[in-house]
Amino acid sequence: MHNNVVGTCEFMCPTAEIQMRERENLLHTFEVLESREKMKRPRADRSKAVKEFTRSAAGRSDPRPSDLRPTSVLVKTVDYLLERIVPKQDVKWHKIYDFVADRLRSVRQDIVIQRLAGPEICLVFIKCIRFYLYAAYRLCEVPVSLFDPHLNGRQAIECMKASLLHFSSLEVPLLAELQELESLYLLFNLGSLDALMHVYESSADVRSCARVQLALAVNETYLAGNYVRFFRLVKKLHFLDLCAVHRHIPQMHNLALNRMSVAYNSKIHGYPMEHLRPLLMLDSTDKVAELCMRHNLLVKEGQIYFLKAAWKESGLANPVKWIFCQEKDRKTAQTSMQLVQLLLIGGSTAVS
């Protein structure tokens, strides 16, 4: 068992790497010195260059302390990325995502290599998680070639699992953040027995807080197939919790229509689309019709004809920024300042 390497790099990016990337012309546009942007070989802006993620190659010697960043620098790095890069308006957001996600991965790598721990590291983790979940919502309508929700999801889950371990070994608990984490973990993994058992095994003051109780209630309605209550509760979620549960909503739409195709089975009588629309929180009767037709359910003159025999299984539609999500987004993350606040401290604590 060797001693942990202790990083000594004072900058967001180690000097050796800056020199190498300058030489090889591998700097990112976000990292270059402005005045020199138009030159063939741009120079790095020390205050903007951030260490890249690279896979540790087998056979490579242990990283040097000068290449590793200590806790204080990692905290600064994450805050820089979330405060300065994330709210940029002049670039397409999926490009911002690529940069930030990569640099955050490198931050997490530095943590693992040095086996760092403690409350500041826990906060670093939770900021990463907020970013991944927000990105999952923000980029949900972008083509998969530009943003892959599965890869993002894997990063998020990896990060959540690591966080849960770190939080549990704190001497002085960070209660509010832990409650947030448990809630996000449960909702992102909606329906997962593992995640649910985990929440039940956590301490009472985590489990009994309003936020986690709401997440548990949402999970319960999901498992029970109670589509009416599910959407009613989802509307009450904190914006980040909504981002976490967002990807599971199409599944609930499917389930609702499936149940109804059996229960309201009739060749003659229809079910009014405009009544179903708000129950499933869909944006318009056109969207309701679209969903029904995916499953081969007849739609005519504002009525849905639920016919058990007609029902066709269909792949899930992609989650979109439904209006009820956009409203919450507007209230919570519309301005740059709000967005930064959301990611740095979880936004406002009110469950609106």
Partner: protein
């Protein structure tokens, strides 16, 4: 001798694991996993012993080893690892010849796994066998089996008697049986919360949550019996739910609950949105729970 060795190994690994976790070193379950790997090695030797005579065959060691492995897998929450072991036993022709106590232990774990996989009929078979054949003097073991058998039976529609629960000091379930029978959701929720710690510790909290749908079914059946018609207004169900303490329920949600029961085959009928009615079959619309899968 192999038995004793394996038992010691497992118990040792167990305490080592607990100690290490307390000190914050290593992930919980790591040592147990290592012990499991060793036991698996021993198991493979036993399983592949095709040469020796029946009496000497190492295959006799199989079930004991498997039971030890089950204990570990359950503790570290890796139930899927039980599957190949179960398959191995199913494929062996020694099944019935193992000692009764080994068989009881085996069926106990397989029953619990079946519960986890929502195979309640299977779980009932295994756990009932274990309970019936468990040594009469082993009250602690019988109680453990009953902790899992009871919720399974309840989901299949069989409510345990209070005397049975009393005999084995499991009166927590008594608080559940009554509200489920009566369709009293509020009381069921209260009972689940009251005994939360116990149910969570035993890992049956989530199974008991499934009793909610049975509770709804029982409540709705009462409504049907009171109204004595096969065209039941949805309002009646909503009112019934409100009386039972579900304050924030509305007709849409009541219909949703009914829809789920119809979908699961627990009610034979359909909902007419136009007339806001549940129209049930004239013959046994509330399918008896004990006849369901």
């Amino acid at each position: 001798m192999l038995f004793a060795l394996c038992l010691d190994l497992r118990l040792f690994a167990n305490s080592a694991d607990i100690q290490l976790t307390k000190k914050g070193r290593g992930k919980p379950g790591e040592t147990l996993e290592k012990a499991a790997d060793i036991l698996m090695g021993a198991f493979r030797i036993c399983a592949s012993d095709n040469r020796a005579q029946s009496a000497d065959s190492k295959k006799w060691g199989m079930l004991n080893l498997i039971n030890q492995l089950f204990k570990i897998y359950f503790k570290i929450n890796k139930l899927h690892l039980c599957k190949p072991l179960i398959r191995a036993v199913d494929n062996s022709n020694f099944k019935e010849h193992f000692s009764l106590s080994q068989q009881v232990t085996y069926k106990y774990y397989v029953g619990r796994k079946a519960m986890f996989d929502s195979d309640f009929k299977g779980a009932d078979d295994y756990l009932s066998y274990a309970f019936q054949h468990c040594h009469i003097m082993s009250r602690r073991n019988k109680r453990m089996i009953l902790i899992y058998l009871t919720p399974v039976k309840m989901l299949l529609g069989y409510m345990p008697s209070v005397s049975l629960l009393q005999k084995y000091d499991l009166l927590q379930f008594a608080d559940i049986v009554s509200p489920v029978r009566q369709g009293n959701l509020l009381q069921l929720n209260e009972a689940l919360i009251k005994h939360e710690a116990f149910f969570i510790k035993c890992g049956i909290y989530l199974i008991l949550e499934k009793l909610k749908i049975i509770t709804y079914r029982n409540l709705f059946k009462k409504v049907y019996l009171i109204l004595k018609t096969h065209q039941l207004s949805v309002d009646a169900f909503t009112s019934a739910l409100r009386i039972m303490g579900v304050d924030d329920i509305d007709n849409d949600e009541a219909q949703c609950l009914i829809a789920n029961l119809i979908y699961e085959g627990k009610i034979k009928g359909y909902i007419s949105y136009q007339h806001q009615k549940l129209v049930v079959s004239k013959q046994m619309p509330f399918v008896p729970l004990t006849s369901l899968k």
